[in-house]
Symmetry: C2
Subunit: 422 residues, 2 copies
Amino acid sequence: MKIIEAKGNISIKRSIDTGTEDQRKSVQEILRDVKSDGDDALRKFTEKFDGARLSELRVSSEEIEEAVKEIGPEMMSIIEEAAGNIADFHGKQRRNSWFDTDEKGTLLGQKITPLDSVGVYVPGGTAAYPSSVLMNVLPAKVAGVERIVMVTPPDEKGRIPAAVLAAARIAGVTEIWKAGGAQAIGALAYGTESIAPVDKIVGPGNIYVALAKREVFGDVAIDMIAGPSEIVILADETGIAGEIAADLLSQAEHDVNASAVLVTTSRKLAEEVSAAVDEALADLPRREIAEESVERFGAIYLAEDMEKAVELVNDLAPEHLEIMTGQPMETMAKIRHAGAIFLGRYSSEPVGDYFAGPNHVLPTNGTARFSSPLNVDDFTKKSSVISYSEKALRENCGKIAKLARLEGLEAHARAVEARFGK
Amino acid sequence: MKIIEAKGNISIKRSIDTGTEDQRKSVQEILRDVKSDGDDALRKFTEKFDGARLSELRVSSEEIEEAVKEIGPEMMSIIEEAAGNIADFHGKQRRNSWFDTDEKGTLLGQKITPLDSVGVYVPGGTAAYPSSVLMNVLPAKVAGVERIVMVTPPDEKGRIPAAVLAAARIAGVTEIWKAGGAQAIGALAYGTESIAPVDKIVGPGNIYVALAKREVFGDVAIDMIAGPSEIVILADETGIAGEIAADLLSQAEHDVNASAVLVTTSRKLAEEVSAAVDEALADLPRREIAEESVERFGAIYLAEDMEKAVELVNDLAPEHLEIMTGQPMETMAKIRHAGAIFLGRYSSEPVGDYFAGPNHVLPTNGTARFSSPLNVDDFTKKSSVISYSEKALRENCGKIAKLARLEGLEAHARAVEARFGK
């Protein structure tokens, strides 16, 4: 792994795939078809893209029970424990409606309400991750969303991976449909004869899914469009090379576009990690992917001092940040931008991917500057509440009318004045 | 105003202007030019679209001082009082970072951090509203955003309306630039020689501004794309026709596409309001606009009973909802979707537009189903914090490794195992 003396700004921003003109057109056509032909269009595209001819679009309870059996009781109980941790952590994010009053009798507040319905996209094939089902569904469940609709493409025989179905049952999904790609997003956004439309769509997907989400954005809410995964490890001389190398590779194995970066103040550690990565790569099952990712987007940055190192990390605004310094809490205080922050050597990043409780759906590609992990707020919305008393309006009526007239909005002024017979 | 017997679902959804192919292309070209030519492109487009040849792009402190003088001390103090109310209400939305620990030494939490920088778009010409400056800037200020950059198109002489500059000074804008349209959005997203890029762009604008925001979404965060304004008033027989009519018109005068709707259980009130609207329209300065809006999108729905009426309101998911019933608080409890809810006859909607404190930037066109008023959360982001102790990892290491292997991610399993010399 290459070692770079860090001077000035660095960036791990990778260009996000925004699709070709052809892909955009194709997505628009698919969405149009689903809007007009509903279930028929879903069946047509599922046959075309997934090679499955479906008589029944909805996953049956028998299929789910079979999946649970296939996964087995030991694995089920591990998934349940992870789900419990995730539900606990997200439960702490729940917020109450609130209001405040003053002596004039004015009441102001925010009413917090869960969304009515949410759609969760789950990719098919090798990228079918039960952990992703838990992470996308449980915050909605905890928020109080009543209808949680999962869509996922079937294989050629019309089947869905058992682990995905099992996780969906544990998480409390209310409907599962065999549909993927842009057509599934269209069904969630516009509805079909079988599938009622939802208010928000979340979950990762390929470029067609991403483009479709972009197209329906506004008609429904969507989550952020996720880019490839990334980790930055910030370490001083106390870092342990073998552990750091293992954590870097756990990111690199995701995707050739994934990015694994070490920022350190210790030349010795830099050299040790570089060697340890090469060594650990040797017998990794997903070696080719990890190797290409390390080659293309991996780097060890050597910083002059911890202050400069922290600055570099804030420039990178990484999705995952591990802090392996003598005083990780103290170091964390200086971090402004990161999706999830892992403190100390026992907080290896996969702990957060699967088990600890915080969400693994995180802002990528520098968007941690302005975005948050998926959380309960994403599945609720606020309504402002305003209750003015006669006294309060009488006292402020003249000022409000003046502000309205300053903006040339006479009917606004007259509306408040109407209360006092003006 | 027409009276309709409400049967089944109703909707006030209007098709949102998503622009023509030509407009999209033109916006993409403008953005490309600003990205490559920076300030030169800004000057070029400002001359082309606003007719102003600017030597200096930035508004000077002298210009701001002049604006303050022009507005005068009385109006300044009213704007300051409104700003104080807005800052107070938003101050109550501020949230602390939090964490929770358990007896194994695990620490989990969320670190809340303000965005570094925010851009606020303020439209030019007749739509230049100082209240909009306060409502977009103050939540960012309260959130702790250090750099708040305002952009607004100048008139032919290169001037910005005094009320806008005065409001910007009161709200605490840190930079003001004379630039509008797609070019201003490009400058905020990509930066130019003079203007550093921002993390998020908020504020209303015309179709070019809206399309440009949609294009840069992902590189920076944006707020919702606002549609035309709307009000729904929910009233029983206790409603007062003249006041309801006045409030309906205060929405209708905004825009020919605005929508003003009354939902009531009282035929008598329906008829009185219908007559009162016609009467009040007669001498309104913006009569033509209000009349066309009432004609096209205005309606009085007569519902069988309060339960049906509430259902209708939830279908509409209005931007503004006034509740004029005998027990407004009780009625509110049944409302699931609304941007801002005004309770009782003294909570006329303009109270919220200008003065009370809650934000007037609200979800339109049914998006209150899944969106919130602009608020402090929009200007902060969360980072998850995960700190596992040796004990906690040792206890859960095997389960985490099993979950990783279930997903075929061997390097993830090895990363946690590396801590225990496996």
